[in-house]
């Protein structure tokens, strides 16, 4: 058993690894241009090149993947010879600083031929000063310096060869400045060390928006789960008690019809009926800054849509399992020895009939996620699925990677959980 779990666990890691590589390559090869997506269609080639260099997107694919996975701070430390440290400011921004002698933090900028150092002492006072002793003579006779700039990059400055830098400031427009470095390494800790990177679409760290979105999706899925499960198991058992009866045929066909209609069609039907014609509940879930549970009326239609879709699937599996149990010898024995009908159903049949559905439901999480993505788009619900869709259309690679990894982890994790649960519920199963 332990061996089985370990094996599956490694398969999970392998899957995540392969998927992360695949996503990187697919995003790379896809049409469209992230610089144009972020900055608009009318940027000049110089502006585009400057933007790509600052984001580290001009580096080779393999190096970018490596930096994404394990972080770029070690590589940058080797280049500049300082320890680099990430701190969180009081305003909640992440800043990278180089750690100098007697633990002062330092960052630099270039003005003309002068290096300007910004130092931050442990009591949070910031001073600026000229710092020209840091220039080192390179082999070709020019003076160079690897340091940390004020925008979280490790950069290479060359004396007298300051590049033009284009920066886009929201509200102001393009600002052209000199003092530009020759080469950038955007600093990050890497996915494996808990840093998902910065979303190019929002300009904020991915984890800040991702986990709120994930929470919203989990709330939606959780409520739907709590509504669907008892209902589907009960109806499935009702259908399976007598195979071929009128209620069986009705429930099976209705369940099948609802489970094969695409989620967006079901959602549109419900919006039209419940919201447009009957005007009972709002037809969209727009929360703004609020959490979903603060507007429960907006959750009604998304939950109802998910319920209709999922109900049919679980119902059919429960029905099949129940019908099989009802044919077995021990049920016939229970009836023949004169036990009351409901006692046979609940004591003898239900207990055995529910093993299969419960584990199959866990495997179904894969499909449930698909349903949730669509339902989120239909109702404008701010969840993980919508986030992923927006990021994918935008080529925002850090956001896509993070969202994808979470979804794969959830899907494969629940499959593993289902297998373990199955052995607990049904001791006859042994994995080896």
């Amino acid at each position: 058993m332990a061996k089985f779990i370990i094996r599956r666990f490694f398969l999970l890691l392998l899957t995540m690894f392969l998927v992360s590589i695949a996503v990187f390559m697919i995003v790379e090869s896809s049409p469209g241009n992230i610089a144009k997506n972020v900055l608009g269609a009318f940027i000049t080639p110089e502006q585009e090149a400057s933007f790509l260099a600052q984001q580290g997107l001009d580096k080779p694919l393999l190096q970018r993947y490596w930096f994404w996975l394990l972080g770029s701070d070690r590589a940058a430390e080797r280049k500049c010879g300082f320890k680099l440290e990430r701190i969180e400011t009081e305003a909640g921004f992440q800043e990278w600083w180089a750690k100098g002698e007697n633990s002062t933090l330092m960052r630099w900028s270039l003005e003309g031929d002068d290096l300007i150092v910004q130092t931050k002492t442990p009591d949070n006072t910031i001073e600026t000063a000229k710092d020209n002793e840091r220039w080192k003579k390179a082999e070709d006779g020019s003076y160079i310096f690897w340091g940390v700039d004020r925008n979280n990059h490790a950069v290479l400055w060359v004396k007298g060869a300051s590049n033009e830098v284009w920066n886009f400031v929201v509200g102001t427009g393009w600002i052209k400045s000199s003092g530009g470095p020759q080469s950038y390494i955007p600093l990050k800790k890497g996915f494996l060390r808990g840093d998902f990177g910065v979303s190019l679409r929002t300009g904020r760290p991915v984890e800040k928006s991702l986990f709120i979105r994930l929470r919203n999706s989990v709330v939606l899925a959780g409520i739907a789960f709590v509504v669907v499960m008892p209902l589907a198991l009960l109806l499935g058992m009702a259908a399976g008690i007598r195979e071929g009866s009128l209620q069986d045929r009705f429930l099976s066909i209705a369940g099948m019809v609802f489970s094969v209609i695409p989620e967006f069609a079901t959602g549109i039907f419900l919006i039209l009926i419940m919201s447009h014609w009957l005007e009972l509940v709002p037809g969209a879930s727009v929360f703004g800054e609020k959490a979903p549970w603060q507007r429960p009326d907006m959750l009604i239609l998304p939950v109802l849509t998910l319920t209709l879709i999922e109900l049919g699937y679980v119902l059919r599996i429960t029905r099949a399992s129940m019908a099989e149990v009802m044919r077995s010898a021990y049920i016939r024995t229970a009836f023949l020895k004169g036990l009351p009908f409901w006692q046979v159903i609940f004591r003898h049949a239900a207990k055995n009939a529910l093993i299969a559905p419960i584990t199959v439901i866990m495997l179904h999480v894969n499909w449930l996620m698909g349903g949730i993505v669509i339902v989120e788009v239909v109702f404008g619900y701010p969840g993980l699925g919508q986030y992923l869709l927006d990021s994918a259309l935008y080529k925002d690679v850090n956001a896509i990677e993070a969202g994808t990894m979470i979804m794969v982890l959830l899907a494969v994790g629940t499959q593993l959980f289902a297998d373990v649960l199955y052995t607990l519920l049904n001791p006859r199963i042994r994995y080896s």
Binding site: S29, E263, A265, I271, L272, H276, I374, M407
Partner: protein
């Protein structure tokens, strides 16, 4: 043939399913003859209208006839696959998606089942990993990456469908490869391709065909979903999913029809296919 028809009509669900499917097949076949407007023909004086005599199902926000768009949408799903603006090939987009999935899946499944050993291990582990990824995620990433067009929708459907087909074909191959006629072919010194595609595959076709019927349903489902997410056919082609997505924006403006009809169309076609497959399976099991 006669036997199949008997089975078909003795099941009420299969008959209803067949009627629904045939309805859409005929609409798709006859689309140019049963509509009085082109699918992209705009009538600026009559936008966002409800059903009327001039427009039996109403019009969308650009004044395009919904019935015409619906009928031509069925064509894209079932009858033709547009390659570029001018050029198309016969066979619906959903159908080609299933064919491509069957081809890739069957090849992998045959090799994996027949060869066994490390080839089997590598292929199956790889497909397991693919299967454990949420389907919607695969669709999203593939189509967002490749760009929205009929060919790319086919590629996405094929990639998503391949692992399932491969598993089925592999299990069938494992059974068939022990038969005497495969041994005989090996002894005759036939090539690997001949054994896989001429000896094993034809003998596994029964279950594969039933599986393929269900897959056409999934493919139409997927096409609709992709269109709805803005990843289907590029506008202005009459794609059901994108019609729903566009029409959704006009519900609040008082025109529910533009989103209602394509939703109904896709629902009825998918339900029809599933009723047909379900009824057939049940009846054929009863006959056995």
């Amino acid at each position: 043939m006669k036997n199949t028809l008997t089975i078909l009509f003795s099941s009420k669900t299969a008959t209803i399913g067949l009627i629904l499917v045939l309805f859409w097949v005929f609409v798709a076949l006859l689309a140019p003859y049963i509509t009085s407007y082109g699918p992209t023909q705009q009538d600026w004086k009559a936008s966002n209208q409800g059903p009327s005599i001039a427009h039996p199902l109403g019009t969308d926000e650009l004044g395009r006839d919904l019935w015409s768009r619906l009928a031509h949408g069925a064509r894209i799903v079932l009858i033709i696959m547009p390659i570029s603006e001018k050029f198309w090939i016969p066979g619906g987009t959903a159908i080609w998606g299933v064919i491509a999935a069957l081809f890739c899946g069957a090849s992998l499944g045959l090799i994996s089942g027949y060869k066994g050993g490390w080839a089997d291990e590598i292929i199956m582990r790889f497909l397991d990993a693919m299967m454990s990824i949420p389907v919607i995620l695969l669709y999203l990433i593939i189509v967002a990456a490749l760009g929205a067009s009929a060919v790319n929708v086919v590629i996405a459907i094929a990639i998503v469908g391949t692992p399932g087909v491969a598993r089925l074909v592999r299990s069938l191959t494992l059974d068939i490869k022990t038969r005497d006629y495969v041994r005989a072919a090996e002894t005759r010194g036939e090539t690997l391709l001949y054994i896989l595609f001429m000896e094993i595959l034809p003998n596994a076709k029964g279950p594969i065909i039933i599986d393929a019927m269900l897959r056409v349903g999934y493919a139409i489902f997927a096409m609709g979903t992709l269109g709805f997410l803005g990843l289907g056919m590029p506008p202005p082609s009459p794609d059901w999913g994108s019609m729903v997505a566009k029409g959704r924006e006009f519900i609040l403006m008082g025109n529910p029809w533009a989103s209602l009809w394509p939703s109904l169309a896709i629902a009825s076609l998918v339900v029809g296919l599933n009723l047909l497959a379900d009824g057939l399976r049940e009846e054929s099991m009863r006959y056995q």
